[in-house]
């Protein structure tokens, strides 16, 4: 049952992930990316990430991708020629080959190290991945990085405003 659900979600994620990078128009890329993220959120539930999956939906799908769509629409970007058009062909070939090598390497690494790990993993406490557990860790062991992230967000906020502000001439 779990395997079935995983297979379904993984298939969706994989296909959508591929479609993200071959679309001619950025809006479609964004839509497929949203689908990938959504199916990943489902997989997160399988991994007992009870808090992270909903954060994935809210932050990635709800905030980040909306921002993307916004910018795409704001900039009024037309469809571009197919990415595999002649001038880029050689580079694309190299890139794809390299990525295949990369994937192969990662596959070898996984095969050598982790293929023997017991399926399903160890039994975990019922509190694993719950909001309370995450919250407790964030405010104790990871308090310092947590506070740092607030600074990062503030800086990003100010930076985005400054960059995107219309200059008055």
């Amino acid at each position: 049952m779990e395997l079935l659900v995983f297979a379904g979600l993984a298939l969706v994620a994989a296909v959508a992930g591929l479609l993200v990078i071959v679309q001619r128009h950025a809006v479609y890329s964004a839509l497929f990316l949203i689908i990938t993220m959504g199916s990943l959120a489902g997989i997160y539930i399988l991994l007992d990430a009870h808090f992270v999956w909903v954060i994935q939906v809210i932050v990635y799908a709800g905030a980040i991708m909306v921002l993307f769509l916004f910018v795409i629409m704001l900039l009024d970007i037309r469809s571009e020629p197919a990415p595999w058009a002649p001038p880029d062909r050689g580079r694309i070939l190299i890139a794809v080959l390299l990525s295949v090598v990369l994937l192969a390497e990662l596959g070898v690494a996984v095969a050598r190290r982790f293929v023997l790990a017991p399926a399903g993993g160890p039994a975990v406490a019922s509190s694993f991945g719950r909001t309370q557990t995450v919250g407790r860790l964030l405010f104790t062991d990871f308090l310092f990085p947590f506070e740092i992230t607030s600074i990062i967000l503030l800086v990003a906020m100010v930076g985005a405003m400054v960059l995107a502000k219309k200059r008055l001439h």
């Binding site: 809006v27 009870h50 939906v57 809210i58 709800g62 905030a63 629409m73 909001t131």
Partner: protein, 340 residues
Amino acid sequence: MLETLIVMLVKIGVVFGALLLTVAYMTWIERKVIADIQVRLGPTRVGPYGLLQPIADGLKLMFKEDLIPSQVDRAIFLLAPSLSIIPAFIAFAVIPFGDSTTLFGLLSRPVPLHITDIDVGVLFVFGAASLGVYGIVLAGWSSNNKYSLLGGLRSSAQLISYELPMGLSVVGVLLLVGSLSLVDIVKAQAGVAWWFGILPVPNWFLFSQPLGFCIYFCCALAETNRAPFDLPEAETELVAGFHTEYSSMKFAMFFMAEYANMITVAALATTLFLGGWLGPIAPSPVWFLGKVFLLLFLFIWFRATLPRFRYDQLMNFGWKRLLPLALLNTAITAIVAVRG
């Protein structure tokens, strides 16, 4: 096992059906209430008191010609209405509408009256709401029409802007409960609180989080594009906003999504601030529905009373008033929660 499955399917069916029915009849209620406020009669012809009016409207929309303008981005144009309506209905999955019940002894063990109770219920509702933006923004973009695009952008900007204070306004409640599960939140509101030691009030968060409730309610109006925040549909400026190019059933879907959203936010407000299904004597779903309809009535009342905001006023109100107020509310609640 089988019983669980059947019960689950029945629950889903009942909730979905009730929601559809409520959406349909909200249109009737709205027309009637506004007519009353404006000293008119409202629909009277179709059925007694015009009760069959929604059915007639639905039929009309269904049989209307489904226009697809030639310059639209077809795939997304077709997808957008569904993207709009699905999250609106999904959100209802975690809202508890009653206490556990055996249905007068019909079932072998008590069945909780909600489809599911997950430990991130509140976030789930917000997540679903944030997904609702896509329908609008994609509808606006794919229509290939400047009014649609502007309406869509406006609408999504509004939704994103007001999601923030909305999320923050309920943090106070979450701090007091210590859980994101909506069932837990409802249960935490059981009992009676004593104001100043003499005045008994229900232990609802409306009374301990009045500021939070007000912020939530304002944001709820904005989130559902209701008056006085109905700028995305401001006819005078944008024709009909993002759904200018839509007609027939696809238009109906946007329409339904809007009303479903209204019901969702009202149900969430009931759960978070008004004690959910809790109440004496009457069965719990009755209490729940009563509170939800009270809030819906408020929605309509606001629409009939208040003029529309200007766009800059809307943004200023959200970012410069509600957001700081929500932060203040969160801070005060945190201090009280830690001290008390």
